[in-house]
Symmetry: C2
Subunit: 427 residues, 2 copies
């Protein structure tokens, strides 16, 4: 029996349509992810916490630290997780009115710039004060910069804040943060590799990233309407929804190709399709695919957390300092746009989570030998705490806010978080 099964597995592994063991591993990991995220998400809701918190905890439990069922470095799971965050940002873009985003543009930019400068400075000096060398301290400061828009956006949507000025400021600032974060990532990578830094090369990266979003939105708005008018005439089932997702994937790929981030491209794709008459059907299909892919992303973010690396005392001290710098820096950033009349504390809290973006910096530093295992543990702790503290923090601030709305949740089969968007677009 066992020899035969070994032969079968060998046969399956050698087959051209690949699969066999790969697919079997993916199947069981996905089953674990779907069941665990939904169950823990439900438990989180019963405790009046956002479902995403439960999904992240599900990921930690499934990851290498506890059960070891989900390996976020597995190429298949990692890619599905990336497709998940791309679909998530596309969904968010599909519900974001560009004009409203531009109205909060000055506020969002101020919050974003302050939210990069303050944590970077605070983190660098705190790490130096605790005895870290210049380059590890720089990596630590840099890891404090970027905002994980996925987690905040999901919590804001769960709480009914996505279509508010605060929601738009956080979203806009987080997207700008991602662009700045990519520039800093490139700069830090160059410093770590010992390359000379030139103002010229930094400006070029920055220019490309900003130009990408602007060009994508302008060109996309010209090209998408006629393309989707043609697509609408394709009679095959699901064609419209599939072309919407294909458009998001294409924009995400272009963003990555031009040196920006995939999620920036996906968000821009959503912004572009917001005005299409076919938006509702595109959104309905995207929501279903999102239900399938997005939990994989959140579970992967959770599974990437290594609880053991966090347990070292020195790591705990540096980590605690970084957590403090990260939270204080982002909270202050929320107040940087002093003229903004909304809930500044909510904006600050919404900027706190680092999630997968912080993990990219930490992992890059470790891979390049720029940070030690202990410093890596400290960065992990910072990412872990800032990510997990945000959902309950947002709930708490939201409940104290006079503009607080009752919790609105997605209805299955409907246009997802779209139900929250006010105005004439209500289905």
């Amino acid at each position: 029996m066992n020899e035969v099964r070994a032969l079968l597995i060998a046969a399956a592994q050698s087959k051209p349509a690949g699969a066999g063991q790969d697919a079997a591993n993916a199947l069981i990991a996905l089953v674990a992810i779907f069941v665990a995220t939904k169950l823990l998400g439900e438990i989180a809701q019963r405790f009046r916490q956002p479902t995403v918190l439960g999904e992240l905890i599900a990921g930690v439990l499934l990851g290498g630290s506890v059960l070891g069922v989900v390996d976020p470095t597995d190429p298949v799971i990692a890619t599905l997780a990336q497709l998940g965050v791309v679909v998530l940002l596309f969904e968010i873009g599909l519900e974001t009115e560009l004009a409203a985003l531009i109205r909060v543009g000055r506020t969002a930019t101020t919050v974003a710039v302050a939210g990069v400068a303050l944590p970077l400075t605070l983190g660098y000096f705190a790490a130096s004060a605790l005895g870290l060398a210049q380059i590890p301290a720089l990596v630590c400061g840099a890891a404090l910069c970027a905002t994980s828009v996925g987690i905040s956006a999901r919590v804001l949507s769960d709480l009914g804040w996505l279509d508010s000025n605060e929601g738009r400021v956080i979203l806009g600032a987080a997207v700008i943060d991602d662009i700045i974060g990519l520039i800093i990532l490139a700069v830090v990578a160059a410093v770590v590799a010992g390359a000379p830094l030139s103002i010229g090369s930094i400006s070029r990266i920055a220019g490309v990233a900003v130009a990408f979003v602007a060009l994508a939105v302008i060109l996309g708005s010209l090209i998408a309407p006629p393309v989707f008018r043609v697509v609408e005439r394709i009679r095959a089932a699901g064609a419209l929804g599939l072309f919407g997702i294909a458009f998001a994937f294409l924009m995400a790929w272009l963003a990555q190709y031009f040196g920006s981030a995939m999620i920036v491209g996906a968000f821009a794709a959503g912004l572009v399709l917001f005005k299409l008459p076919q938006r509702q059907e595109i959104e309905r299909s995207t929501t279903m695919v999102g239900h399938f892919l997005v939990p994989i992303f959140f579970a992967s973010v959770g599974a990437a957390v290594n609880l053991r690396a966090v347990a070292d005392p020195q790591a705990l001290m540096v980590g605690a300092a970084l957590v403090a710098c990260g939270i204080v820096g982002k909270l202050l950033a929320g107040f940087a746009a002093w003229w903004f009349r909304g809930n500044k504390l909510l904006v600050g809290v919404g900027m706190v989570p680092r999630g997968e973006v912080g993990l990219i910096f930490a992992q890059m530093g470790l891979a390049a030998g720029a940070v030690s295992a202990g410093e890596y543990g400290a960065l992990m702790l910072m990412v872990l705490v800032t990510t997990f503290v945000t959902p309950p923090g947002l709930v708490w601030v939201s409940r104290r806010s006079p503009g607080h709305r009752s919790t609105v949740r997605d209805l299955p089969g409907q246009g997802g978080v779209d139900d929250l968007v006010a105005g004439t677009r209500r289905e």
Copy 2:
């Protein structure tokens, strides 16, 4: 700029949430698959051919023989393709009434056994007559056995035959074929590896495969209703649909684990959930995820075809002989159940495609050194022709049939091919 981009790519590749370049490659391959399959599917429809024929041709064009955009051996694409065929068989199972399948059980079993024995015998002797050694001839004969249920089921559904006695016989026979095919695969693999063959080991593999389907359906029917009553109480969006897919994935994994095929488990999962009161919502979610995953499967089957390996004259001759044996053998099998009152020719034609199942045998033979590159090319040609000839063949037989129904197509957002199923379950 280029150094910076290289650094960014290196950084992305080293990150724990994997992705970066992997995900970017997957994104652009998926964009190509979605756009090409839908466009060529539409063109096929305009020529009154089933859309799946266009999707297969899209795969050939995207594969290594022509454009080289889609690599079906890439682990991510291969796994997504496998998830696609799992979801496809789950959808088919969700629309298959077990009682109706059992009513045609004797006919389906007869067709399946004849459809294995005739092509195997014909293929083995034809290959031997053309000068092939014993083991390559055995591999060739074995590759002629299995039926690619995915392609026939999709075409039958496109043509409105899925809910007919002919459709059920083809489906049932194809599933039995898959079980027999797995046994033969294990046996041939053992012969190729030089292992001694015992009647005992063969019977054990056969017993496991048959017992799996029976046990899965019996146990599943007992466990699924209470589980889904609990799942229904989870308030998170899309939970029910996601649990349906998780159930299908779990059954597919179990089938693979116990030495059967993933698609057999997925089909059994659909059969089990057919009777649930929550079937409609599960089916709606599955259809949307299927629109996303199934084209990846069909494009991969097409992309695995290497047109260059087919061009050798000796390969062409052996290939032509295998095509003839494969088609004649399966057509005759359609008439083996002489008591069956339906369209026997339609059943025979429906059994013709080998698709990915034939490719597994060919690839296994090549990897084990049991067949030469030329013989591999011949097997490729057989797989190619039998797969591509089936959709127009079914259309032709279907039009000549007195029981022919008009073409019914899926409606976007509806329960997929479910629209074809008659009776009280119409939404």
